[in-house]
Symmetry: C2
Subunit: 336 residues, 2 copies
Amino acid sequence: MPTESEIISKIRARARPNQQVIAGIGDDAAVIRFGGKCLIACCDLVVEGVHFRTQWAAPGLIGHKALAATISDVAAMGGSPKFAMVSLALPRATPAEFIEGLIEGIFEVAESYGVSIIGGDTSISPGPLLIDTSLIGECESERAIRRSGARVGDVIFVTGSLGASALGLLLLEQGYRLGGELIEESPIGRARHQAIKRHLMPEPRLREGQMIARAGLASAMIDISDGLSTDLWHILDESGQGAILHADAIPIAEAVAALQASGFAVDPLQLALSSGEEYELLFTCHPEDCSRLSELSSALSVPITAIGQIVPGKSLQLERGGALEEVSPCGYEHRI
Amino acid sequence: MPTESEIISKIRARARPNQQVIAGIGDDAAVIRFGGKCLIACCDLVVEGVHFRTQWAAPGLIGHKALAATISDVAAMGGSPKFAMVSLALPRATPAEFIEGLIEGIFEVAESYGVSIIGGDTSISPGPLLIDTSLIGECESERAIRRSGARVGDVIFVTGSLGASALGLLLLEQGYRLGGELIEESPIGRARHQAIKRHLMPEPRLREGQMIARAGLASAMIDISDGLSTDLWHILDESGQGAILHADAIPIAEAVAALQASGFAVDPLQLALSSGEEYELLFTCHPEDCSRLSELSSALSVPITAIGQIVPGKSLQLERGGALEEVSPCGYEHRI
């Protein structure tokens, strides 16, 4: 079976140009001229046993994450999500309360981010539970931030910190649960709780993406759903550039640092490079504009950290202690 | 587990009003004011083993039907589909050629109906193949035809003829295949071929829906995806009315009549009332406007048949030989 990127390449190669389409297949969301506005649209599919497990999270959290991930795609373009459609394939034995919890989780995240649910579809599933959410939104005309705009000399930035989502997944696999018995009241317990919450209940950086777009501060942007190295590769690939990342600059999540300090066997840098479903924004900024980012970071109370720069070439290198090493995309692989 | 309509009712009750939303949950598609235009959006989910079987049809036909069904929802509102997103959940062992065939089928139907594929998502599926297609289109401002507009005295019409899709499904279950050995070169063989093709490769009545809307000829409209009786119920329920259907007036598909005449044990009326996935348009028309429908029918070369009328009350009755009998929705039930 071909990989996801091979399938997307095939679909992209097959698609015909359309003058109304400003950005089509291959970005976080599509951007279209519609009426007098710029319409943004995307969808995100999550499958039980691949993206989530019903034993790991209450149905409300599953619904929350499904729509939050799609909103994050709109955030990565600097757009505003407005309307959502939700398709649900439900195993025949799904209890009514589970479905109600799932729907409530979807509505809660929709309302938090100003999204109206306008439709959808449901079906029985002879296999796993599956949720596909589509979003329609707006962006300022021609202001949508593509993956393809990074230029040599641009500085690479990331919002927030990285690694906690993958750590949360690791802890869930080890039997830890939100509110479960294994999570004791202690600094380590709180770090575990933080990491699991980060994995199960991500919040899209919607306001951050919109402010970055409005201020014209990003030449390219993506949300970290597959992992820093893989998602940076997407920017490099679309922009036709290379990059150097500075290992010491990559912001490591507190929970990761706390668990490592307590003796938990984890490589924080590796985790930060590969942790998917972080939903932080990764973007590039022209050097002259970088100073304005610190003001924005203060205004938003969100760390925005310079972690590298765009260089000529086609490779991604990691600078550690003055030495450079090649990095290949080592993103999050969904397991069955 | 609750039924599909119970789930939709719950979602609909939970949704908050939004002034931009002209039609939301509970119609064939949502209609939204967007950028000075009227935007139409809908999605349709099909699941292997529920809506299709990979042994019954080439992958191109599966892709064709998935998108055709969604286009039919736009047709039922009188709109024009413009952009599609396609989400695919693929079993791990899916061969590359299968995926290529599926994508090609989707692109072919998209191009036939003026739709550009602008995005989507893919995932591994630990269970069945699943396709969710979302459409974004346009309709003339405030001209979208809802399910809720039927009034007492309106005449009920249907395009084309009914029953062939359910017959095709029956034949597939009995081992007949498109191009298979069991389908001989004879009038019966051709009828079987016709019925199976109708089931596997439906064409949405897009132009018909648009012409009906443009001419202002329908007070309510729906596409027949669940079966005549069930879909008429949807109109009656949304419009708060009852209806009488005339058994002798319901147009039976040629293939159904031919197979019945040859001794195949089938009840054509029952088939026509219950056959889902017909993708014919079912609509109501003010009595004064009915004469204009025969011109439209000639212009389109598509039969448009009066099959009943809207009456006061809350029931659906079938008139047969002068006697009235209650009809309960007996639509297509997807089987696992």
